[in-house]
Structure formats: structure tokens, C-alpha cells
Symmetry: C2
């Protein structure tokens, strides 16, 4: 189980190596959203996503391992690869064969060994467990792992502090949600550090298992796992550890379309000068285009990652307004 | 004359409103450059460039004015427009007719009145002085103005502090240079706060008046003022106030090609997840592609602005490597 004490401990271990990412805003985005919008720019984190926090948190908690293994569509891969290199241990990363080329290449360039699998037909959990056993490597799960959740929770501690600097105690905090590592970490952090804030997971249409699970009061899965541009946050089902935390702290999930993600990416380009990937843009998309489903005069969105190929980003820039 | 005391005073006035922008890095960029590269991401400043600092510094030093007037290709325009709105006074901005559409639109949207002029045939200084007199507005010059230089100098104070946090006392600091407001402000700040650092102005080919002026020991002008993608840093000649400061503190200027700027923009997209405009990319371009003209094992580049149209950014993303 993850606790606020574990998040504070992870923040201490991460302090010398991670970036405290800025919280950005623009009067132009406020106008579209009809309220003040703040964007926690985790795309500016090392390796281009918040996943470095969880990866480093997990690695820095391991002792006497010769290496680690992880499965990931790309952001967890890069986070673990860099964290492993910083700890001087080897990393093997199992990635889906349809992961963006840049994510695969970057993971290799960070010194990791990459093994590809078929997202539709192979079971990555079984594959990862088997390889970990064979090679005697420690498995670093992408989200359902207390030390990883603790690392992601440091995003929540920073949000609480940066919101307080701006005089904001009450706000809905929108988090892009795949397996729930980031969302549940932020839940625990804000539950302790900013209890008047409400966390809301955001997912793309067709892959909204967490929104449905929260509504039903039990974990349900997505019916498909491919065909989304939001590759970073597509997972079969939320975690056994993460879901109960989200159930305790979150209010209803939000669901956005792919077009809304692309529009949000273009707005972030124009108004904030940051690069967000489609999966990292779902929260901003919800703030900009689903304002009637949000409450309060301020909303905080996590821009969770920016690892997008030039072709996809060019598609977003071509969107008409 | 600007002094380090004026920069510290500007930093105090700016503190509640400006962003302390992050200093970013990537192992991938270090590898290309052959040394450690740090990017001071002023594109993440309010209005998308460092110019907000100088505009706000000047506005906050004025008393009892009904409004201000400024001439600018776009970044100073937006900085002054927002600063004027924050001070509750009107702003008239004189902009060249070939300024990027987004810069003109944003300046209007920030509440300023925009007057267009022809960069090749009209004298913007004379036009600005005449309009200021007619309308009884205070002129906020883009660079040759002590209060503006003091505001830009706050970038230098932050660089000194952020470099010290990373254990860096000696480095060359590369600054995109038009009229020299940013460069001279950084010179004064580092001269006091990090005297082992050397500032080097960077300009695009064909518009390298400052590099030539430093080499000749006297101010010379550019032979043309149009036809560059680096619109943000194209000025006829450096300032009467800024040039002597640069002469005292700077070592030789660096000159980069437009292709190198576009490549640097793509690298910043891929590795840092920030959006830089061509004129804001000259320093990073010099660090990446002119390493043999730079000394030391660390280099700090200012990414001075990110106000670029989608079409131009798409062109940068299409560059082959």
C-alpha cells in the first residue's frame, strides 16, 4: 500500500535528480475554458513524462539487483531506462510493437534492451514475469506498484504547493489516466496536502475503463487495446492497488475525443509553447472542451507527457479552429 | 545607464508576476554538442518570450501615464501589451507589416491597439516618436532603454542561480541578439553574479551586425532588414546603450544559418518538449552545430521566444537529419 509518507520519502530521493516542473497558464486558455486553467507541465520532466518519477522512485528503493525489467508503451520505458542508467544497472524493456517509433528509439538510446510484443495477442504481464524469472531481473510494474505510485505522487505534492502560491486551495485536478498510477499518487498527495481539491481521471473515448469502473463501483476492463492515438494511457484495466485509491478520492471520470486531444495539443503549442502527446493532452482537452462537466473557478490539468512523433504533432498543428 | 542594482530592483518588481523559467537539458543534446548543454527556456515566459520582463520592468517604473507606445516585430509588442493591461493603462503598438500573423493577433487580443508599418521603407523610430508626441503616450523602446535592459537582466540572475545549483561556475552563455537588450542585461547580471561566465551574442547569417560591430570595435548596421525567418531578432543596428555594455563583457559573436535554426527547433521539440521560434533558436543552433567555435565543457543557451506560426513550426518538424 502507498501512503503519504512514502510519497514524501520518494520526493526526498528524487529531489537531487528530478525537475520541479512549472505550472503554466494563459489568458487565452482561461477564456476558452471559462475559468482559470493551470497546466502542470510534466512533459518537461526528464524523458518527457512524469514516468521518470515513478521509475526513479522504484529503482532507488531496490538494493543488490543486477538489473530491472519493465513493460511499457514508451513513457514508463524511458523513465525506467534513464533511472536504471543513473543507478548503474541494466534495463530490459518489453514494448508493444505499435509503440511510437520515437519512444522505442529513445528507450534504446538510453541504454535499455528493448523486446517487442503484440499488444492484441500477447499477455505482457505474463511475458514480463517470465523474462524477469529467467534473467533474474527485478520487475518494475508500470502502475500497480507502491513505490511507483509514491514517485508519481510527487506530482501531487508540487501541485499543492504551486496552487497555494497562487492562492488556490479549491480546484478540480484533472489527470490523464491509464492504469491509475499517476492519478492515485496525486489522490494520496492532495488528500494530505490539499484536501479541498478533487481529482478527476480523464480518458479517451472507447478506452474509458476507469470512468466506467468508478461509476459501477468495481473494476471493469476496456474492450479493445489498440487503435488509439493516446497510446500512453491505454491499459487493459486499472490496478488492484490504484483502483481502491481512486475510488476513495476521485469524483467522476471525464472522457474526451481524439479530435479534442489534437485541438488541446495545438492550443498548448500556441499558448504555452509546450509539446504534449495525445495521451498527455486529455486533461487539458477536458478543461477546454468539457467545461460544463467541471466545477469551480479554477481547474488544474496535468500535461503528463510530450513524447509524440513529428508526424502526429504536425497533424495536431493542422487542426482548424 | 543600467546597473546591477537596477536589475535586482527589476527582479523584485517582477517577482510576483513573472515566471522563473526552467533550465532544461537532455543527454541527447549533450551528445550532439559534445559538451553539456543547458537551455534557459524563456519561451515559457508569459506572452511566450523574455520580452515580458523588460516590458513589465519599464511599465512598473512609470508613474501617472495614460498609456504607452512601443514598436516591435511581435515579442516586445506582446510583452508591453500584457504589462500595460496589468497596470491598467492603454497600449499602442507599431508593428512591421511582415510580422507573423500570430504575433499581431495576440497583441490585439491582449488589448493593445496595433498600427502596421513597412519595415523596408518607413522609419519606425520616427513613427513611434511622432505618435507618442501626438497622443501623449510614454514610449517604451524595445532595447535601448535602461529599465528594459534591467528587466531582461533578470534572465541573467536566474541563469547564475540555476547554474550554481548544478555546480557550474564557468560556462559560455549564448544569447539570441537583436538590438542587444537581452544580451546586455545578461552581461550586467552575470558580470556581478557569475563573473567566470562569458556571454556571446548569436545572430542569423546576413543579419550579424553585432558580431561585426564587436569585431570592428564600433557599431555597424545590417545591410537589409527583411527576408529572415528570425524576425524576432532583426534590428537595423545595436543600441547606443546596449553596445558599449556588450563591448565590455562579450566575447566574439556567433553566426548560424536558417537551416541550423530549424534543426535546433526540431531538436528542442524532440528532446525538450518546448516550442522555440527561429530567432529564439539561434543560441541552441550555435551550441549544437558550431561547437568548435565554443569553449568549455558546459554551454548555456537562452531559448528566448516561442511565438512561431504552425506553418513555420511544421517546416522545422519536416527537416531531415
Amino acid at each position: 500500500m502507498s501512503t503519504i509518507e512514502m510519497i514524501h520519502a520518494a520526493a526526498e530521493r528524487l529531489k537531487p535528480v528530478m525537475r520541479k516542473t512549472p505550472m503554466l497558464s494563459s489568458p487565452f486558455l482561461d477564456e476558452i475554458a471559462g475559468r482559470r486553467v493551470f497546466i502542470k507541465a510534466e512533459c518537461l520532466q526528464h524523458t518527457g513524462s512524469f514516468k521518470f518519477r515513478g521509475g526513479y522512485s522504484a529503482l532507488s528503493g531496490l538494493h543488490d539487483v543486477k538489473g530491472v525489467i519493465a513493460f511499457s508503451s514508451g513513457n514508463h520505458a524511458q523513465g525506467v531506462a534513464l533511472a536504471a542508467r543513473m543507478h548503474g544497472v541494466e534495463a530490459v524493456i518489453i514494448m508493444p510493437s505499435d509503440a511510437p517509433v520515437s519512444k522505442v528509439e529513445n528507450t534504446k538510446a538510453l541504454g535499455a534492451k528493448v523486446v517487442l510484443y503484440d499488444r492484441a495477442t500477447e499477455d505482457r504481464d505474463a511475458l514480463g514475469a517470465e523474462m524477469a524469472r529467467q534473467s533474474n531481473l527485478a520487475l518494475v510494474k508500470p502502475f500497480d506498484e507502491p513505490m511507483v505510485i509514491a514517485g508519481q505522487g510527487t506530482v501531487g505534492l508540487e501541485i499543492a504547493a504551486q496552487a497555494a502560491e497562487r492562492g488556490i486551495a479549491e480546484a478540480q485536478v484533472l489527470a490523464p489516466c491509464g492504469g491509475g498510477g499517476l492519478t492515485s499518487g496525486i489522490c494520496l498527495a492532495l488528500g494530505a496536502a490539499a484536501p479541498a481539491m478533487t481529482v478527476r481521471p480523464v480518458e479517451p473515448e472507447g478506452f474509458d475503463d476507469v470512468a466506467r469502473s468508478l461509476a459501477l463501483g468495481k473494476r471493469v476492463s476496456n474492450s479493445r487495446l489498440t487503435g488509439s492515438i493516446c497510446d500512453a494511457i491505454i491499459t487493459p484495466i486499472s490496478g488492484e492497488i490504484t483502483f481502491p485509491i481512486m475510488q476513495t478520492y476521485c469524483s467522476a471520470g471525464l472522457v474526451v475525443s481524439e479530435d479534442e486531444c489534437l485541438h488541446a495539443m495545438k492550443h498548448a503549442f500556441e499558448r504555452l509553447k509546450i509539446v504534449i502527446e495525445p495521451g498527455g493532452a486529455v486533461a487539458l482537452a477536458a478543461a477546454l472542451f468539457h467545461g460544463d462537466e467541471i466545477e469551480g473557478d479554477a481547474v488544474i490539468c496535468v500535461a503528463s507527457g510530450g513524447n509524440v512523433d513529428a508526424e502526429m504533432f504536425g497533424k495536431a498543428l493542422g487542426m482548424l479552429f
